[in-house]
């Protein structure tokens, strides 16, 4: 069953056609990678899913809900979480707090004036948060400030922040960008574990190593259009993909 359906999405920036007639179907419980060379429109497409950009035409439907016109926090509340290229976390708060906030957001909705009870008395929330920190192997550092973490640990923390919300769809924008080899491999392992638990994920990536170790299905974007969509093994051999990446010059 398709959980995210993108139909005929077009987006223009002035004279540049950033996306043209993009169609995409993400199946529930799969890892779907979107790849493509720089400037292919990957980030533009992602921004259309999360309420940052509004497509000129077309539709983005998630679980029978149109995402168009929704604000980022509303999109999150229907079950879509995302991680950023550079980890977006609460730098000057402890790890536990970093994970507590999304847990509260999941339980209390986008706004609740809950000013009377102490956070320390929210045992259920804390247990869930600690569990997620344990999942990403950061439970030993729960009292430390997030800013002190390494790049890879920040990514883990961000993933924990998403997982604690038990999203129906997880969007990842170049999750290993700027990481060392070791960190990258760790992150891939972590994402694999998450995928094994049945999480639906959309990964935007241009590191082929990451893509091919994770993805169950790949869409290739070039110059704003989907030029191929298939299983990883098929994509590997697809001449159109090679052309898009290498410009066809050295085939």
């Amino acid at each position: 069953m398709s959980i995210l359906t993108v139909e005929n999405v077009n987006k223009r920036f002035g004279g540049l056609q950033a996306l043209s007639n993009v169609n995409l179907q993400v199946e529930e419980g799969t890892v779907h990678a979107i790849i493509g060379p720089n400037g292919a429109g990957k980030s533009t497409l992602l921004n259309c899913f999360v309420g940052r950009l509004e497509p000129d035409t077309g539709s983005v439907v998630f679980n029978d809900v149109s995402l168009l016109g929704l604000k980022p926090h509303q999109i999150n509340q229907v079950g879509v979480s995302r991680v950023f290229q550079t980890p977006e976390i609460f730098d000057d708060m402890s790890l536990l707090e970093n994970v507590t906030i999304p847990a509260l957001a999941k339980r209390d909705g986008s706004f609740k004036l809950n000013a009377w009870n102490a956070v320390r008395d929210e045992n259920g929330i804390r247990d869930a948060a600690m569990e997620c920190l344990a999942d990403v192997e950061l439970d030993g550092k729960s009292d430390e400030l997030a800013r002190a973490l390494s790049r890879g640990d920040k990514r883990r923390l961000e993933l924990a922040m998403c997982l604690v919300q038990e999203p129906k769809l997880l969007l990842l924008d170049e999750p290993t960008a700027g990481m060392s080899r070791a960190d990258t491999n760790n992150t891939i392992e972590l994402m694999k574990r998450i995928a094994e638990n049945g999480m639906t994920m959309v990964v935007i990536e241009h590191d082929m190593h990451v893509v091919f170790s994770l993805a169950e299905k790949i869409s290739v974007l070039a110059q704003g259009t989907v030029i191929a969509e298939d299983l990883p093994d098929k994509i590997k051999g697809d001449p159109r993909v090679q052309e898009a990446y290498l410009g066809g010059a050295h085939l």
Binding site: H73, N76, S81, I101, W116, R120
Partner: protein
């Protein structure tokens, strides 16, 4: 390392705070600050700064127009005295509500922007309020002179309950207790403790945590399913209500409301109090408010005669030198001291006075620890 505070330490802090506030006349007496008016000011501006800290300390939104709420609260309270009753309870409630309503209006406009743009929006709106209150709104505010009570005020509730103040100007009274002097202080003190308690609850609550998240990373907050605007607006309104309450209390202890209370310098003062004490800490703003009010009232009153007495233990020529040096910093020079103090604090203690205290505390702890360790070491080393 961040450690969540325990229920026990919070209770201790609250108890300590309450005791300190109740005993303030005795504690502060020896430094010359134990008289009712200054104590009242400590409590009132403490409340003001506590509220400001909920906005600035937690969300990082630097409002430069908070004095507007203080002024509006004062006007509301004095009008309550004039129209309804001299009972401070009603005045305080109305002042708080009016402060909150005004904050909704200003917050709704200003919070469309962040950073320095937000600061300038609040500044501009507050300055507009001040300028209008000073001039064209004189029928409501009595302009420069300030809104005062008059014998001929209607006071319909007092009249209805048969309360007659005779030929003299009434002063606010709490079921027969006049709200001047020490009773006035303890009325403010009760609300001060209550405000501190509420502030503490907010700090420890999920709501407070969300406010800190606003300061930390608004982008992440949005993509975490949280709507930032209502949180900031709620913080703005709560701090506006604190300011309105503080303004109301100013009117309760001294029923005169002047427009200058709304000027940008007054807004700046609460910013300085908060940063000086330590923004984002619970106690810091209270301490900052105390320090600034102490300087304003006590340092400004030192004249050379007083200094002569202070330094009278020195030989005469030294005494003269000390007096002429120190006289630059007190009396008419008290502004200089304040300015220098701001610089010194920010340069050496970025976290405000609270950081200073915690450094001293840590050093003390380390010292005592070392003392504890010492007798252990020798016994463990010469084992052979």
């Amino acid at each position: 390392m961040y450690k969540a505070s325990s229920r026990k330490s919070d209770l201790l802090l609250l108890a300590g705070f309450t005791v300190a506030v109740l005993l303030a006349p005795f504690i502060l007496g020896p430094v010359g600050a134990g008289y009712p008016d200054l104590l009242q000011k400590f409590a009132i501006f403490g409340i003001f700064a506590l509220g400001f800290n909920i906005l600035f300390g937690l969300t990082g939104y630097l409002s430069f127009g908070h004095a507007a709420f203080l002024g509006v609260g004062s006007y509301a309270a004095v009008w309550t005295f004039k129209l309804f009753s001299m009972n401070p309870i009603l005045a305080v409630i109305i002042a708080t509500v009016v402060g909150g309503v005004f904050a909704v209006a200003i917050g709704f406009i200003s919070l469309r922007r962040s950073g320095i743009y937000f600061s300038i929006l609040t500044l501009a709106l507050a300055q507009m309020s001040y300028n209008l209150a000073y001039s064209v709104l004189t029928p409501i505010t009595n302009g420069e002179t300030g809104l005062q009570l008059a014998q001929s005020d209607p006071r319909i509730l007092d009249v209805a309950f048969g309360r007659d103040y005779g030929a003299v100007l009434p002063s606010s009274d709490f079921f027969g207790i006049h709200m001047t002097g020490y009773p006035g202080y303890y009325f403010c003190a009760a609300l001060f403790v209550l405000c501190f308690f509420l502030s503490m609850r907010i700090f420890r609550s999920p709501f407070g945590m969300m406010l800190r998240a606003v300061k930390s990373n608004q982008n992440r907050m949005r993509y975490t399913g949280l709507n930032v605007r209502p949180y900031t607006l709620a913080a703005f309104v709560i701090s506006g209500m604190y300011a309105g309450l503080a303004g109301g209390l100013l009117a309760v202890t001294d029923p005169l409301a002047g427009a200058e209370r709304m000027q940008w310098t007054a807004s700046g003062e609460v910013v300085l109090m908060t940063i000086l004490g330590g923004a984002g800490t619970l106690l810091g703003p209270v301490i900052g408010a105390g320090v600034i009010k102490y300087f304003e009232n006590i340092f400004s009153a030192f004249n050379e005669g007083v200094l002569e007495q202070i330094f009278s233990f020195l030989p005469e020529f030294l005494q003269h030198a000390m007096v002429s040096i120190s006289s630059m910093f007190v009396g008419e020079g008290w502004h200089l001291t304040l300015g220098a103090l701001f610089m010194v604090i920010v340069i050496f203690l970025p976290g405000g006075l609270m950081e200073g205290f915690s450094r001293i505390w840590q050093r003390l702890r380390r010292m005592t620890k070392r003392d504890d360790d010492k007798p252990v070491e020798p016994s463990s080393v010469p084992a052979e």
